[in-house]
Amino acid sequence: MIALPTPPTSHSGPTQSSALSLLSMLQEDSQPLVFSALKKLLRVVDTLWHEVSASLPLLEEIAEGEEFPKETKAVASAVASRVFFHLEEYRDSLRLALGAGDAYFNVVSDKSPYVETLVCKAIEIYTKVSDSSSVADDDVMDDNVEDDGLKDKVLGIVEKMFERCYSERTWSHALGIALEAKNIDKVKQILEKCGDSLNEKVATLQYGLSACTTVVVNRAFRTEALTVIGENFRSLPESHNDFASLVRCEHLLGNSSSVSEMLAGLLKTGGDKSLLALQLCFDLVDTGDQHFVSAVTSGLPKGDSVSSEIKADMEKVTAILEGGFAGELELAFLFKESDSDPLIIANLKKSLEEKGKVASLLHSMSLHANAFLNAGTTNDKFLRENLEYLKKANNWAKFSATANLGCIHQGHVTEAMTLLEPYLPAEGGAVAATGGYAEGGALMALGLIHGKPNCATALRTSTTRYLRDQLRTNSANETICHGAALGVGLSGLGCRDATIFNELKEVLYTDSAVAGEAAGIAMGMVQLGNGGGGNQEVTEMLAYAKDTSHEKIIRGLSLGIALMHYQLEEKADGIIEQLFRDRDPVLRYGGMWTVALAYVGTGNNAAIKKLLHVAISDVSNEVRMAAITALAFVLFKTPERVPELVKLLLVSFNPHVRYASCMAVGIAMAGSGNADTLAILEPMLEDLTDFVRQGALIATSMVMMQAPESHKSYKKFKSKLTGIVGEKHQSPLTKMGAILGQGIMDAGGRNVCLNMASRDGFVKPTSVIGIMMFCQHWFWHPCCSLLGLAFQPTVMAGLNHDLAFVKKFVVTCNSKPSAFAYPARLVEKKEEVKKRVTTVSLSTTAKAKAAAAKKKKEEGGDDMEVDKKEEETKKEGEGEGEEEKEGEEDSEAAKKKKKKGPEPKSFELNNPSRMTKSQVRVCEPKPGRYHPVLAGAKSGIILLTDTTPTEEDDEVEKVTVPSVEEEEAKMPEPFVWRPEGAAPAAAPTTTDTTATTPTTTTDDRAAK
């Protein structure tokens, strides 16, 4: 251990001090003198390094020359190393420190900043050196890494660091280094060493798993590391095992059989373990990897010799994996909890119609906005009530209008055919050469309805068959073909069926621009992620793209190629390179999307570098746009990096670049409500170019998705959106942005968010495709509808063993209710319109609750009733008899409200409820009879363990799918809220609101 240099404060002499005398001694002939001088220099070098730096050449000469004894050389190295350290030349510093040896550079016990910094540097070099496959363009990889034998010495240092980590039991540090250095032997060694404490091992393995998906860039090594981690997970005793992580690991490796085995094993054990199996199944379905899920399903044993209990569980598992139970649950949630405000679209329509004729662009966009607003909620009331307005859609607008039905009814697979019947091509009818817009749109709608992989597999397959038939019989009509091809692509997403692919290819070879474009995209969807390594099909598509004269077909094919390289990472590099170099800008455009999809969510630096280069150097605006938008895809797991990266591009002179930068920011930061992001988008809203304003409006609404009314920018932006539509001199393109923005901001009844990742961090293909296709609206407006695929319900649903909602399960949200409340609904201005929509409110104060509960009790209701009522407090959908009581309660609560002080610090969420991305952090399941089977599960579908299973619980609710067969739910009677002694007309806008739609509607239906 070296003596620490004396800090300057302890100097008692004159402050002015100089190392000059010592430095001049270095040139003396006497070697002992030089040695003594050096030793003294070492004591002062930390304060006087600026003077010493002038003598660096001399020091290095001493350190590396032959004439001085070893000891002198070591001190000289130590001095020089410290000077380099202060000069922030860490590489040289490290080189010399290694030369100085342990006496002056002790990595094990010395924790000074000097040593720590150099060790970091050593690890950096170590990882770079051992990762020889990476591009050697980094500054660390100088030529002389190997030359001066630094490599071996660095290895020694890192080895010591590993030892230090072992002795300090900081396994995750060691594992991180090993993973970054791609040293599989070390990984094995670390996992072996930490085995003596099972808890630590589990934690280390979990860390390793997440590091593999986030840090490890190289695909081959990731697989290798995951294999090792998987083996270790499997070897853990069952009592300590983290099954969720194991499933994730096996999923990443594509080991469906071992997942099947594990599920079967868990089911056999029964009890909580079978609950866990169900939970794992839900998580698996949530990843959206259709291919893997079906492989797991087929691997499940079809045992007949098992007990009935296990059999029942097996059936549930199949229902979840194959039967589309998760989809039904989502649908039920979106339908029931929808907070879609009909006035948004009604007002939009009104302001569009104010000036007489509505431009077809804006008309069509308003229908898109309506589809977004009600995406997945099956609420098509606006369309039914405004058939006149709807009829104005012609040609392709008609196509989109029909396709939008698919967006609204997404996941409603059981009744898809009934719903779309009126629009589908007539059975055996003559094929018209022109027209067929509604028919084409309906076919695409079918695809959209069956697009999400969590719906029933059997129905998906039959729909694909139906769509293929339509594709064949209507081959003469390119509009129908277009819709059918996209429909086939969506419903057969990732099925990798060669027959379907060939059928689509036939459509392509008819060389019809419109149909061919769709066929190209659909081919990619069918073969999603199946195109790596000189695939024959890719070659064929590329050849045809160069052959045809239709730009639309080229674009379709290049997007198809991009889809075929989904998540292939390095395997796609060949085709990426080829597309990048192509002379045709449309193919280059496809190349950008190939990067986006191949590297989606990896944050791969090489890919980002490529994209940024194109973003500023390509001659074609479209290619630049694609490159910038692609950044959002590659970086969606670290979204904060996107605004940082494109900040400069946002002020580009090129409006296309500005537009794309807005979109990239919007896509990456969707649903975050991030104030900084909004601040950088804000000036873009006033941009001089109309389509940049459009992009900014769309992007801002993406960021503001699910934002509560209390959000700082909410009111301003909302009024801007509505204002722009009515403005007389605003450009149609900007208006288009405002209309779409209105749809996106309150999409899916305010219960969905744009998200490319599943809850487990897997990339969801449907979401990625949805957003990618939405970006194509630049060329083809009907593509807007596909955004619906990317909406993911932000749901928290607790299920019991029978897969029914448990009402007793409550989640506490530790924040002000207003931070996550649904925004209040708009209020109709005109008096004569029936006042259906008033501000509704959920009593939030503990006081009010207590009062309500007490009241109920007095009225003879039991506990469970109270819970239920509480949830329904102040909802207007109650029956006649209830209304009076409700009214009383309202006034009761209102009185309390007047008295009450500040907002409460926490509130409770019922089951099921919306739980936004940012809300998950502050939520905690409330301890009670039920608790999550998987500790730490907070959002999504949560399986619950019952602590007292013997006790009856009649407060459960089956998952019910909304049905169109029945009449629309009866509208509640007009209801005016009258506080005691207040003026009758006063709208209760002051009350605190957590609005929910009537839950009773489903009950009503069920009753029927």
Partner: protein, 265 residues
């Protein structure tokens, strides 16, 4: 112990220097080995019980070292010693004035003049007090510098005859050759040819130093030709012409700038 050892060595050194003994350098080296371990000296300047004595010994030893180096005609060693000595002067203000101090200070200025390090010369001069500058040994160097700067080389020749200390001779000799070189450079460009006798006078050779003059012309001015008692200077090499402008480089640079600007987004 070491301090007594050091003072003994200092005494020995002092006598050796004055007697110009060959063993003086070794004595100095061993003394320095002791000095380097004194924490009271810069850069540490820590207060030790014997700090005053230590500083005094260090000063005197190094001053002697300086004088020794001059006597040996070793400029490098002289600079090394002053580098070790001057930080003590500036950091340890309580050190008593020694007999040799002003001499070393003056010699150091001379040394800087010879090295033509005028910036250093003036910054060192700033650190001297008015009383020090008034001293004859230091003032000599100051005046000398002034004369050289104005270019009154003839005055310089006269002052070289009245040295304040014989040790200054070493530096004066080198200065004279520096001055001579300057004059020769000026002659080259000012005249096409010149009479030998005139040249000898201009280059500050005494009338009796003809042989020295001739060897100077032969050795350090190879391009001068002596023809008929006259020196012919070579014509001055023409300065850079238009073609020496790196036009290609500039053009390619401008072009690359233009492309970069195109790319700026």
């Amino acid at each position: 112990m070491s301090i007594s050892e050091a003072s003994a060595l200092l005494k020995k050194l002092s006598s050796e220097v004055s007697s110009f003994s060959a063993s003086a350098s070794t004595t100095l080296a061993s003394l320095k080995l002791i000095l380097v371990d004194f924490d009271s000296l810069p850069p540490l300047c820590l207060p030790t019980p014997d700090s005053k004595e230590e500083q005094r010994i260090a000063c005197e030893a190094l001053e002697l070292g300086c004088l020794l180096a001059v006597k040996n005609g070793d400029g490098e060693a002289f600079e090394g010693n002053t580098n070790q000595l001057f930080p003590i002067y500036s950091s340890c203000l309580s050190v008593p004035q020694s007999a040799n101090r002003k001499k070393v200070q003056g010699l150091y200025l001379m040394f800087l003049l010879v090295e033509n390090r005028l910036a250093d010369f003036h910054s060192v001069l700033q650190t001297y007090t008015a009383e020090e500058i008034g001293d004859e040994r230091i003032n000599f160097a100051v005046l000398l510098e002034r004369e050289l700067m104005v270019g009154s080389y003839d005055k310089f020749a006269t002052s070289s005859t009245s040295l304040p200390d014989p040790l200054y001779q070493f530096f004066m000799t080198s200065l004279l050759s520096t001055v001579r070189d300057n004059v020769a450079d000026a002659l080259e460009v000012s005249y096409e040819s010149m009479d030998l006798a005139d040249a000898q006078r201009m280059l500050m050779f005494q009338p009796n130093e003809t042989s020295a003059f001739e060897s100077f012309v032969k050795q350090s001015r190879e391009d001068w030709m002596v023809v008929d008692n006259e020196i012919k200077f070579q014509p001055v090499v023409a300065s850079n012409r238009a073609e020496d402008i790196p036009s290609m480089k500039l053009i390619s640079q401008s072009l690359s700038f233009a492309t970069e600007i195109e790319r700026i987004v």
